[in-house]
Symmetry: none
DNA sequence: AATGAATGAGGGTTCATTCAT
DNA sequence: CATGAATGAACCCTCATTCAT
């Protein structure tokens, strides 16, 4: 947690610092990100930084938390009413919201990407506390529900399926970070729908589909 | 590319250096890997290193290339006769070979893993040159063939499908990096088969499957 | 000297500040003691501190002076009537009072200890002014008196003896800083008496003592 | 221990570095001593320092060890034949050698002084390993021997006496660090003899001495 | 008188790379 | 071709002190 000092700053200044930090972490992963650079780009003194934050990790933790909260703002509306929808509709909505998040917060998407991929597990633990959130978990729940309702083939391996679905969602995010040209949702939907189609039906040619 | 001096070395020495470097890159990701450590563990002089290699990146590039070549050795036998097999059999064989590669060359798998995950795109470009090898490419070819033969649903998006298949193959590799206990292939097959089942049929519940 | 502003404060506040400072200097020696910590533990603003005191040294100087004054309060009753007593009784009483001071003001004892041991002579001079108080002085006077009275061997070196007596008194103080378990004086007396015995008679084996 | 690199340096350079380091540690105690200053005064690059030594502590440890070895060179000749001499002769010889060490190696004396007085016990442990050498120990042995031989009053407290003797020896060292004017031993002997006289006989006036 | 944010020099340490031999 | 000492910019972090309000 940032120190009280940080929260006492003018919102303008606070945002400036945060903004610069986000820039930095979106450009370099944790270990390469430089406090010196952040401080210079913000125009504050080195010492000031340490009046605001415990240390580099403290800042990073704060940024990650912010990203998490922001992401949840996107996903919550969907998850909230999860039992109202059919499984595949739900997954689609989650993908759509995820893609929206990525498009609208590309720097956050980037940072999250770095972080998810980072192999420094000790860092991860320190940042996230014990509750390293398995985004798997939520999908596992949804899948079980889907099987109960008869939407999903009960013979599939639940964990594996959850892993695949997570993997695909990451794929979507990455796709949109790379292709930044996307401005509106028009291009997102088709991709997602195609993905879901495959997830649903597989890619095997079926005579009965003809 | 290593300098000529490197290739003038005795094979023994060359291998020793390489082996140490591989150890290092398997233990630390690129930016954390230390030339000093490599040099110490190899027993050569610091200066010598820079007579063999342009710089750290040069060494890394060379290691990555080697890994690529080795991986191809595993996959080539399958690809070579790609038109003899059914699409899904082919993919399975590729997955199996990929898993075999991971199990038999855990350090390579680890390095590849780090590298795939690394988000320093500038580094990646420099390492791979322009030919960032889309392992996608090969799958795209296979998919097209599969559609021609009538194995695959012609309505699916080819690029997307290739991406998914690649993604799943990475998933397999990761799985085995984590669970290093695997000694033989006995446990690999079920996982791969489940994956392929989903890829083939999707996860939707079908009355006709009952 | 603290600034006037300091003395304008309510006694309560003044004591609080002082108390916290004493805690700090009893825990860390001068250079390691932290103004920030003092300020935080006191609950006053950083800026306020510098309105009360010139700087860190100023505060420390004040604390040291206070300790000196307090110590004199312990010793004065003995010194006051110094001509009433035999030399060795006097020294014993001074040692006893010194030990009492140490036991009853452990933080002061600790600070004094740090300070005596500190080898930063420049600091010491600045703190103590020119009058680096030779606690020697008082013993020199007492010794002279003792010689006059015929209590003390007139052939001994007065300065040296004073130094030794001082050194022993410090030894006593240190002893009690280490062994803080001492609650009452019961354990102090034997040590002091043994010390005095040696001071008086030396450690040589004497036939006439047998 | 310094790294091999250090020992590979020309003796000239090695001595220069060491000399500068000794200057620094004789001027500032451990925590205040500055690597930057050492490096600047030596004229070597910051990075070079860390080629030679693990870290600041490593350098300090080395210096302390050197001092210890040097001191032993002074004391060993005396200790070696400790059973040939009378107790007080022995102590005198140790004091003389100690004073000689102080006079001839004033910077070492200073550093040792700082170190002995330093209150950072964790540092001390790290520097000295577990064997924090109680210089007491040797005196305790000597005293016991002295009692056996009938030189020393068997009623005195052995530990206390050892402490006093140690304390006096430190006093001697300090005395000579302060009064650097001493060039030869002529002034040392009288002081030491006076000290021993007091230690032997105490300061009480005795009729039988008259 | 009170505040607390701002400062910046300095701390120890790392490491890829260069260079003289 | 081998060597390994030399380099120095950059790293994160600390802290007494100042200054604007």
């Amino acid at each position: 947690m940032p120190k009280q000092t940080f929260f006492n700053l003018s919102e303008e200044k606070r945002e400036k610092i945060l903004n610069t930090a986000i820039d930095e972490f979106a450009k370099y992963y944790y270990h390469k990100a430089s406090i010196t650079r952040i401080v210079n780009n913000t125009g504050i003194a080195k010492g000031s930084f340490y009046q605001y934050f415990e240390d580099k990790k403290d800042l990073f933790k704060y940024v990650i938390e912010r990203i998490g909260r922001r992401k949840i703002e996107y996903l919550y509306p969907v998850i909230k009413d999860f039992d109202k929808y059919d499984f595949f509709d739900l997954v689609r909505m989650l993908y759509v919201q995820g893609a929206k998040f990525a498009v609208e917060n590309p720097r956050f998407q980037k940072i999250g990407d770095y972080f998810v991929k980072d192999t420094d597990t000790k860092l991860k633990e320190e940042i996230l506390g014990e509750n390293i959130p398995k985004s798997n978990e939520i999908f596992i729940q949804l899948i079980k529900k889907g099987i109960e309702k008869g939407d999903i083939n009960p013979n599939i391996d639940i964990n594996l399926t959850a892993t695949i679905i997570t993997s695909l969602s990451i794929e979507i995010g990455e796709y949109f970070v790379k292709e930044m040209k996307v401005k509106d949702n028009t291009e997102i939907m088709p991709l997602i729908d195609k993905m879901l189609y495959i997830l649903k039906n597989g890619i095997k040619n079926r005579r009965e589909d003809v």
